[in-house]
């Protein structure tokens, strides 16, 4: 028996069976510009400057983001709030806020440094500007609009729903790292969204939101339309989340 099953000659043709069977399986290719896979919740993209629910800006002009930035792409200057028409709650506000996206490496350290959760990263990475001026995002481009949505530049490719995850970068875990704070929102609300709900905790292995293996989970979640017509989305679903 082993002469047949483990025969070089037979194995040679088994290889042809492996490739020959592929056309019967669904393609895993996603037709990218038309269809896009959902982005991971914690992916890093273009920044936004958030505002409180009452419309006040969160940025206080402390320049911690600029100080921590390893690429030195952030330029911030703070100024005292005008007493009659304050921009942010508190003493000072971000008067100038510029990010040079020719330098930014999307490390998210500015987001971690920010004491007021003013700067967060959206999931948008498809913003190919064509000149250096467009590369430098000024404050007016970074601050969310009156509905709390990020402003859309002409060269940015936002898809519906992309603005859903513009902030709350630590939503799955407790900011302090304490397990008993898991699932407890410790962040302020935002204009247009309120206090965003906590993600399922990272110790919640069954949660589909937290998966160490994003590719597999996304592949399961995607519908056939993401891959174009006529392809079924049946894949092996990995049971029980991350192991």
């Amino acid at each position: 028996m082993s002469l047949i099953t483990n025969n070089k000659f037979v194995n040679f043709f088994k290889g042809f069976a492996v490739t020959g069977k592929q056309p019967a399986k669904p393609m895993i290719t996603v037709q990218y510009p038309e269809f896009k896979r959902p982005k991971p919740e914690r992916s890093h993209g273009r920044h936004v400057l958030n505002r409180y629910e009452d419309g006040m800006e969160k940025c206080i002009g402390c320049e911690l983001c600029a100080g921590v930035c390893p690429a030195r792409c952030i330029f911030v200057r703070g100024a005292d709030n005008p007493p009659d028409n304050p921009v942010s709650p508190g003493e000072r506000y971000g008067f100038v806020y510029e990010i040079n996206y020719l330098r930014c490496i999307h490390c998210d350290m500015c987001v971690e440094a920010c004491p007021t959760e003013a700067i967060t990263e959206s999931k948008l990475f498809e913003f190919s500007f064509t000149n250096r001026e467009d590369a430098i995002y000024t404050k007016s481009e970074l601050v969310v609009d009156d509905a709390g949505k990020p402003k859309v530049m002409p060269w940015e490719d936002w898809k519906p729903g992309d603005d859903k995850n513009t902030s709350a970068w630590v939503r799955a875990t407790a900011p302090s790292g304490r397990a008993d704070l898991e699932g407890v929102p410790l962040w302020s609300g935002e204009l247009g969204y309120g206090v965003r709900p906590a993600q399922a905790g990272q110790s919640d292995a069954a949660s589909p939101e937290y998966s160490a293996d994003f590719d597999i989970s996304m592949r399961d979640a995607e519908s056939a339309e993401l891959r174009g017509a006529g392809v079924s989305a049946e894949r092996n679903v990995r049971p029980g989340g991350p192991s």
Partner: protein, 392 residues
């Protein structure tokens, strides 16, 4: 004289060398030439699409309807690119080499019978460009000339890397040409004629049953298939170009049109050699009649498509051979194997006693050969080539 011989098999000339007969020849030449070019474009797309599906992806799907114009786009792109001629190149030979490759690839199709004899008014002609008395030898001649295209291309580039690539390529092609010639000789022995039309006619009658692929236990077909695949440097024998690990071969100094012609020649060779395989082993246009009519060309096209699919399938499946594996396969297995096969078939043509004698002799020779290879291998391991080079 040669010209008359070439077309002597064509019934169009039964009424003498008239202008109409020549017109038929010219039309046939044009049809084959244009059809082959169309087939090449089709083959490139077919290959990329099928390989895509075999690798669980869609393949090119942007240019034109479902991506089928991708090959045209690639060709146009290559065509408008700058033609770079290295300053050290032999300019004339550098430009000539791709043309040699292309002509050698094209010319083989002349002897492929696409169908039987067709009537056009008073003239009848074979659906075959030419049926010369030397027949299938034209294919061996063309593949021999094809080596010159590769060799001259690498040499004329005036750079050492193409030269190394050309030496590698021509060594491979020359090695497998011997096995190719021996297997073709076996088929000629089985059929008793060099005429491709006669080889096809001998396989007629009884679908599948009389095809050469089943004669002599399929050994000639298998040997021929391997040899011809190596001869035209298709995967898994494509280490002539080996984009992934060797970054090209004889054609690295070629760009634009020259590169395109080499590329084109490669695909023409795939099609013509598949057609030759169909002719020699799959009965050419042989197949059951549909609705009472002989649809030879249809069967031929179908068989050709199956062959092309097999080549694509092989490319999607098999890893590339190492150079020593390639040479081992050629010199230690294919050439002795096809030589033994030729002897056995030749003996069997005389009488079964001679056949058995040749078989016994071949087995004895193979035992000796295996011994010789073992001895050689032991010697190499003891004082291998590398240690010899390192020695002071």
């Amino acid at each position: 004289m040669i010209l008359a011989d070439t077309f002597s098999g064509d019934p169009a000339f039964n009424h003498g060398l008239s202008a109409w007969a020549w017109l038929i020849v010219v039309v046939k030449v044009l049809v084959v030439f244009v059809a082959l070019q169309g087939l090449v474009v089709f083959m490139i797309m077919f290959e990329r699409k099928v390989i895509g599906r075999l690798a669980n992806r869609p393949g090119p799907n942007r240019a034109g309807p479902n991506g089928w114009l991708q090959a045209v786009a690639d060709g146009l792109k290559l065509f408008v690119k700058e033609t770079l001629v290295p300053s050290t190149a032999d300019k004339f030979v550098y430009r000539l080499a791709p043309v040699i490759s292309l002509v050698a690839a094209f010319v083989t199709f002349a002897i492929v019978p696409v169908g039987g004899v067709e009537r056009f008014g008073t003239y009848s002609t074979r659906l075959q460009m030419a049926d010369p008395p030397w027949g299938i030898l034209l294919m061996l001649m063309a593949s021999g000339i094809g080596v010159y295209g590769v060799m001259l291309g690498g040499w004329a580039s005036g750079s050492k890397y193409p030269l190394i690539g050309a030496v590698r390529a021509s060594a491979q092609m020359v090695s497998y040409e011997a096995a190719l010639g021996l297997t073709v000789a076996t088929v000629v022995l089985l059929t008793g004629s060099l005429h491709t039309s006669a080889i096809v006619a001998a396989q007629h009658g009884g679908f599948l049953y009389h095809w050469n692929i089943f004669r002599a236990f399929g050994a000639p077909a298998a040997f021929f298939f391997i040899a011809v695949t190596a001869e035209m440097t298709r995967p898994p024998f494509d280490l002539v170009e080996a984009e992934e690990e060797l970054a090209g071969g004889y054609n690295v100094e070629y760009s634009s049109v020259g590169f395109m012609l080499f590329y084109f020649a490669e695909y023409v060779a795939v099609i013509t050699n598949s057609a030759i395989f169909v002719t020699l082993f799959l009965g050419g246009p042989d197949g059951p009649h549909i609705a009472g009519t002989d649809v030879g060309p249809l069967w031929f096209a179908l068989k050709l498509l199956v062959m092309l699919y097999i080549y694509v399938w092989m490319r999607a499946t098999l890893p590339r051979l190492r150079y020593d594996q390639l040479m081992d396969l050629g010199w230690k297995r294919l050439i002795p194997g096809s030589l033994a096969l030729l002897l056995i078939v030749a003996g069997a043509r005389i009488s079964w006693r001679w056949g058995l004698a040749a078989l016994a002799g071949s087995i004895l020779a193979f035992v000796l050969l295996a011994q010789a290879i073992d001895v050689g291998r032991a010697q190499q391991e003891g004082e291998g080539m590398l240690s010899e080079l390192d020695a002071p």
